[in-house]
């Protein structure tokens, strides 16, 4: 099965290119209206509250375990966030599996053992 289709470099590069365009360019046009969970909080918990903003803040203010590290980055500069996030996700997603494969002692394609 490993022979079919050949190398994936082109496919991966095309996908990464799409991810970069979406993350750095298209994301600038993202809507900033509340997301659905915020909406759920506003609509249910804070229904009828005098100050909806304060009501929301009361819910989201306190971290559960008293530990809320500051974000390493934030979405302040959209295109940069997209670039960093795309690179990080690709690096971690690929890296963790490569490490795992290395740790397995170079067994080749154990997928043969169990086919779906």
């Amino acid at each position: 099965m490993a022979r079919r289709g050949g190398p994936v470099a082109g496919f991966v590069l095309a996908g990464l290119a799409a991810a970069l365009v979406i993350g750095t360019v298209v994301s600038n046009f993202a809507a900033s209206t509340p997301d659905a969970l915020q909406r759920a909080v506003i609509d249910s918990a804070c229904r009828g509250a005098q100050d909806v903003e304060a009501c929301l803040a009361a819910y989201e203010g306190a971290p559960v375990l008293g530990a809320q590290p500051a974000a390493l980055f934030d979405y302040g500069v959209t295109w940069l966030s997209g670039l960093v996030g795309v690179i990080l996700c690709f690096a971690i997603g690929t890296g963790v599996l490569l490490l795992l494969r290395k740790g397995a002692g170079g067994r080749r394609s154990p997928a043969e053992r169990r086919t779906r």
């Binding site: 289709g5 209206t33 969970l37 909406r39 971290p63 559960v64």
Partner: protein, 228 residues
């Protein structure tokens, strides 16, 4: 500025829920790592990173849905259908990790809950729902993509329901959050279905050999035997 469809922030689930969901999520991700290591041949490893990057990018693009609410792709079901339940779980877990640690998008204490609700439910549940649906349908392109659409939609509604369970029974939200979460996501699911189906249609046209569920591809024998 928070860009999230339904990522649970710190404070919207209680300490017990946070700890329990973290433990369960850690176990599931560990299992997913092992299974992914077994299932993936070397050449498909970069595809995992690429899909994580793609899901991250699309999650940044929030689109107005209805009633002053915005939504974006979750991608869990798409990842599960494309790469199988465990590799799919891994893909979305990477995304939520980077979002929580790097961008404070979804709380770190809520990371376990987010991985379970939006990752495992969508990727694993979506995969098996897709298997079940395609098992009884003809192996045609419209049926295949139709199943992708239905499963993607259902995955969003299911994820929303689980988030509601965590935040209502394991957090401070009142019961009234349930109909709101479900209602909004029945609409958001349409967006999820359109994008997921488009992406999988593109992969189906270009590199069907990289898809999981090879025995369900259009044109394979309907007997359930894999044609490969």
């Amino acid at each position: 500025m928070a860009i999230a469809l339904m990522h649970i922030p710190d404070g919207l689930i209680g300490p017990v829920t946070a700890i329990v969901t973290w433990i369960i999520a850690a176990g599931v991700v560990a299992y997913a790592l092992r299974r992914a290591g077994e299932e993936l041949d070397d050449r498909r490893i970069p595809v995992v990173g690429m899909l994580a990057a793609f899901v991250f990018a699309t999650q940044m693009v929030t689109v107005p849905v209805a009633g002053g609410t915005s939504a974006h792709l979750l991608g869990g079901a798409m990842a599960g259908i494309m790469l199988g339940p465990w590799v799919g779980t891994l893909v979305v877990s990477v995304v939520y990790l980077v979002q929580a640690v790097g961008f404070a998008d979804g709380g770190i204490t809520a990371l376990g809950a987010n991985v379970l609700a939006m990752g495992v439910v969508a990727a694993v549940g979506g995969y098996y729902l897709f298997r079940a649906l395609t098992a009884v349908l003809p192996r045609t392109r419209p049926a295949y993509l139709g199943c992708v659409a239905v499963v993607s939609w259902a995955s969003i509604v299911a994820a929303a329901a689980v988030v509601a369970v965590f935040t209502v029974f394991g957090g401070p939200l009142p019961l009234a959050a349930f109909p709101v979460m479900i209602g909004v996501h029945m609409l958001a699911g349409v967006l999820e279905a359109v994008i997921s189906t488009s992406v999988i249609a593109a992969v189906l046209a270009s590199r069907p050999d990289l898809l999981a569920n090879r025995d369900r591809l259009p044109g394979t024998a309907a007997s359930g035997e894999e044609v490969a």
